[in-house]
Subunit: 141 residues, 2 copies
């Protein structure tokens, strides 16, 4: 895991520093995409500007993905290429929390095929899809 990140960074002339390792660990510890404030709270030794900069670089080399919600802050998660764990998100429209969810393989396949067909008829090359479930989490329902 950390080795994979190191490898990705190296191929871009970047170093796997202490701070970056800490950020990656914070992402790994969570069960859903996290905001920068959450990361800073999780690990008080990190400087805000460095976290912003590092997440940006980690995204650039393909180690993390940036998620946008209606929330104030952007959210980050480990890239699926690193986790081998294709997933979607449960977004609570009441408290804003975001957690991971997996669909059945069959449903994923059905959706994927249908979207490719749909893209073709719109003359649009479909590279992937983003599917969020919006509703109320257990705490808010």
């Amino acid at each position: 895991m950390h080795d994979d990140v190191a490898e990705l960074l190296r191929s871009g002339d970047h170093r796997y520093t202490n701070g970056r390792r800490r950020v990656v660990s914070a992402l790994q510890a969570s069960d859903g995409p996290v905001t920068i404030p959450q990361i800073l709270e999780l690990d008080g030794s990190l400087a805000q500007s460095s976290v912003y900069r590092n997440l940006s670089i980690l995204e650039e080399v393909g180690a993390v993905s940036r998620i946008v919600t209606h929330d104030d802050h952007a959210r980050y998660e480990l890239a699926e290429a690193l986790t081998d764990h294709h997933h979607h998100h449960l977004i609570c429209s009441s408290c804003g929390s975001v957690s991971d969810v997996e669909l059945t393989e069959q449903l994923e396949r059905t959706i994927d095929e249908a979207l490719h067909r749909t893209g073709q008829s719109y003359n649009f090359r479909v590279d992937g899809h983003r599917l969020d479930l919006v509703g109320a989490c257990a705490d808010c329902a």
Copy 2:
């Protein structure tokens, strides 16, 4: 259409002013969710701050929906309740353009049922879903 918006506004002690009518017309004229700069360009007589304020109120009363992408600006579209036109989005990861797309009714039904089941097993109440197709538009491919 405009009557529906007026009705929604009225029930919230809001007025359907000239500026708001213009904003709604701009949304209606587009084939996908638009940014505030696009609205301002479309109708030069609008003041930026009023457009922000009005879109916020229109969203509050359920007349428009705010869309977030990786783009710099938020995007707005008429609410599905007004258009009777459930749809998703084609998002070009190259130029950032966003346009509407409709899936077959059957696929929508399949997805909806599967997501509700999935939500149940996560103890999450699913109110709706958001499905974007990410890839390259005809111009960028």
